[in-house]
Amino acid sequence: MIRNYLKIAWRNIKKRKSIAFIHITGLAIGFTCATLIFLFISFHLSFDNFHRNSNRIYRLVTEIHREDIRYKATVPPGLPNVFKNNYSFAEKVTKIVDWDEQLITVKSGDSQESYKAKTAFTEPDFFRIFNFPLLHKNFSDELDAPNTAVITPQAAQKLFGDTPPIGKTFVWNNEETVLVTGVLRNLPENTMFTSEVFISLNTLRNSWVSKETWTGTSSSLQSFALLHPGQHPADIEQVMKSFNAIYLPDADKDEYTYKLQPFNSIHLDTQYSGGISKELLWTLGIVGILLLLIACINFINIAAAQSAYRSKEIGLRKVLGGFRKQLLLQFLTETFLITLIALIVGLGLSIVLLPYFNNIFGLSLSVSGLLTLPFTIFFIILLLGIPVLAGSYPGIILARIAPVLALKQKLTQKDTGGVMTRQVLITGQFIVSIILIAIMLLISKQIRYATQSDLGFDPSAIVMAGLPDLPDEKMKASGLTSLKSEILRSPYIEEASVCFTSPGAPINGWGTDVSFNGNPGQEKFLIESKMGDKDYLKTFGIRLVAGRNFIQKDSTDEVLVNETFGKKIGINDPEELIGKSITISEDYIHGRIVGVVEDFHDKDFRQNISPVFIAWDPDRAYNELGIKINRTHAAEAIRHIRNVWSSHFPDYIFEYHFLDERIAEMYESEQQFLALTRIFSLLAIFICSMGIYGLISLFVSQKTKEIGIRKVLGGKVFNILKLFSRDFLKMITIAGLIAGPIAWYFINKWLQHYTYRTTVSWWIFILPIGCMLLLSLVIITCKGYKAAMSNPAKSLRTE
């Protein structure tokens, strides 16, 4: 019997190819989206879930209470050892210093080769807390001794090629020679640790991060503790409240609060700048379900529309002895077959599209994520659920109809299922599509706003060249003068400035304390530092609003501040700031304000503009060289910079970024989100148009007679098309009225993340509605025109 059903189902699919195509593509697309989103969400939920004791691992973090609360995923370097040695909370405590890309040089004979490798410094306990096994043996005393390292096979391949890496040496940062003592298994994708080279922390014995100091924190240092079973983090946090009184007696004791962050929550905890926000995962999940839902609605709609064609067959089958249950089963088999095909097509589509999807998100999700138990369950639920959902509705309706009427083709709308129900479903599709399009429009508007509005400085045609991290005199600002003047010699270079970091940058931020005009104590806010030479303003196009630029001297006594600093202090007239004294970072800088610059966006648009100072410190090591180049000769300019740079630092690798690209990178997650909503809205529109097509076909088949009569009575094609459009106009209007406020709510909620945001214009809501309207009219015209043109003699013939 089932075989018979399958056979008929297959013949039906073959016979009505276009409908089957719509059926299958709609569902396949919905399923593809759901699959990709499923992979994405499960990837993020699986982060670091493979560590044996992950529920006992905590990260030591700091809350800084000033004007606002800041969350730092680190603690002062002195804390971890106190935590480990003076208390019995934890089995193991470890520090890891992640310095990202570092210069690694491998010497063989006379030749040497330099590479950039993601490098971290850590202790043996790191590998006892976390499960990153060695390739061929168990961990014993690896990373105990200074100047030893374990590396991943990937790094081994990069540094040493095919020769066995154990026992080999490399030079880190032209400073320390390091011996490779172990090879790790490749680190999985779903972990927060991304280094390929792990050097023993003892190697950094002279560095600030290795000191037992309690003043200051560095975001590159992270500390993890494996608590003893039965320890309560809240109790431990209570104990840690006393730390400041003991180890940091000068500080305001409530300013720094040390906390334990559960390791499992790190990836989804955006407060401590985790990997991804829970809200985004939820949003994506809901979007996935919605798309799948509208694909199912579509499926039901078209299947129901088909019932008009199928009613005769069903009536006949009833007369021939088919029972309701048998007929329902036949329908379920048919929808099951279509679902199966659609899911397989969808699966194939997901596999094909996965690389593109990975590209958008910078991920490398693999198809193997589909072979997991959760996905299998997801697949089976869909495979069984969709046919039941989509097949039973038309199935029940058709199985209920009176055979006599069906045979005479005298079924009314009431018999083949309420048009009302279908209109509600289509309206639902319209609502989802309108919301998605509106959100897409807004996100792109905000991104345009963020990347094209006046930042307060000019990021165009600026090359940021990194400077090597050298301890010697050469790196002091004075030593860089010759580098700078040589670079400026080219006609393609317009300006250059030695600096700590660019005006708007996600890197090298340094907020510190400040005292103003002899006010007792420190101000309640932190001041952002933008150290640089006198050409900083010129190079980056920062405008002065009062006073003058500082003069570059052998000591730091002239300081520039921005307008926000004045506002924070309570002085709105910039002129009043000139000449006032300022003390920065305890005793680091004592100087006076000689100029006030116009506010510029020193962070992204999510955050307020900070109080900023710009000053010159001749004894400081600088990170970057900002170079304004001639845009039309960019290639020559960069070649020139590279040559000069390499002749100054022959042992180092020249690296540069364009400042405008660096700024655009700050909106990477928005760009990703935009790319996704764009795809999703297109798909929603696509699925929606198939829904419209299904409903129009139904209308046409039900109104063939009416059209015939109207034509006989002298109705014009236009009038008949108007007849079809009326209902859709109504549905879209209703959908717009419902979708508008919902979209408005989401849009406003999303925009709350931004301190500086674009306006919500009326066209963001009107455009999607117009788009749906246009789409419907096109489909109605195409499909309805044929019906309206048909010969009424045909449609009015009764037998």
Binding site: N4, N12, L320, G321
Partner: protein, 222 residues
């Protein structure tokens, strides 16, 4: 006695006006009869046939079929009853377009859950009998009207019903094809199947053993 209708009334309400479709129909059909129902358009012929076939209900009266009181049966049992004993033949053949000749004939057996071997034998029997073995893998649209009606009759007969109800079985056929079909009914009747047909044609009615004439839903048989 195969079936008996006592004082059957059927009406519809159209905006306050009651229109009678069947008015006080009394009819007894014995097994082995060949009855022709005649009458002008709208006289209730098809309605009566549908009532007999239990595809349609009625408002008043009693209907006994093989000692069962149809008017007291629930819908479910009623449909079970006609599925068991009655075969239908239609003017427009009503074959399932997606199925081959073989499969069309097989369908009633599938619904009655016959075993595969049994089905094969029964269908082969029918194909043989109507000389359409060569056409068994064709789809309805590949057949002429007369051939389609042959398949329709084969399908109605395959599950060995006691009663064949035919609604103008020759209405869409030319006269030669029509004659062939009527000859077939005659033969079937002689083999013991009860036949009730609706027809417009005196000539076709003559094949039957008895004629029932309807006018405005009333039995006006002289």
């Amino acid at each position: 006695m195969l079936l008996q209708l006592n004082n059957i009334f059927k009406w519809v309400n159209n905006g306050g006006n009651t229109t009678f479709l069947l008015k006080d129909i009394n009819l007894t059909v014995e097994e082995g009869e060949f009855i022709s129902i005649m009458g002008p358009s709208g006289s209730g012929k098809t309605t009566l046939l549908n009532v007999i076939g239990m595809l349609d209900g009625f408002n008043e009266g009693e209907y006994h079929f093989l000692e069962k009181s149809v008017h007291q049966l629930r819908e479910k049992h009623r449909s079970a009853l006609y599925k068991e004993y009655i075969g239908f033949v239609f003017q427009a053949y009503h074959l399932i377009d997606e199925l081959t000749v073989y499969e069309n004939i097989e369908t009633p057996l599938l619904y009655k859950k016959f075993k595969t071997a049994e089905r094969k034998a029964l269908v082969a029997d029918m194909l043989d009998r109507f000389h359409i073995v060569g056409k068994k893998d064709l789809f309805p649209e590949q057949l002429s009207g007369g051939q389609q009606q042959l398949v329709g009759i084969a399908r109605a007969l395959v599950s060995r019903p006691k009663l064949i109800l035919a609604d103008e079985p020759t209405g869409n056929l030319n006269s030669r094809q029509g004659e062939e079909i009527m000859d077939l009914f005659k033969k079937l009747n002689e083999e013991g199947v009860t036949v009730i047909q609706v027809t417009h044609s005196e000539k076709n009615a003559a094949y039957g053993s008895r004629v029932i004439e309807l006018l405005d839903g009333r039995n006006v048989t002289p």
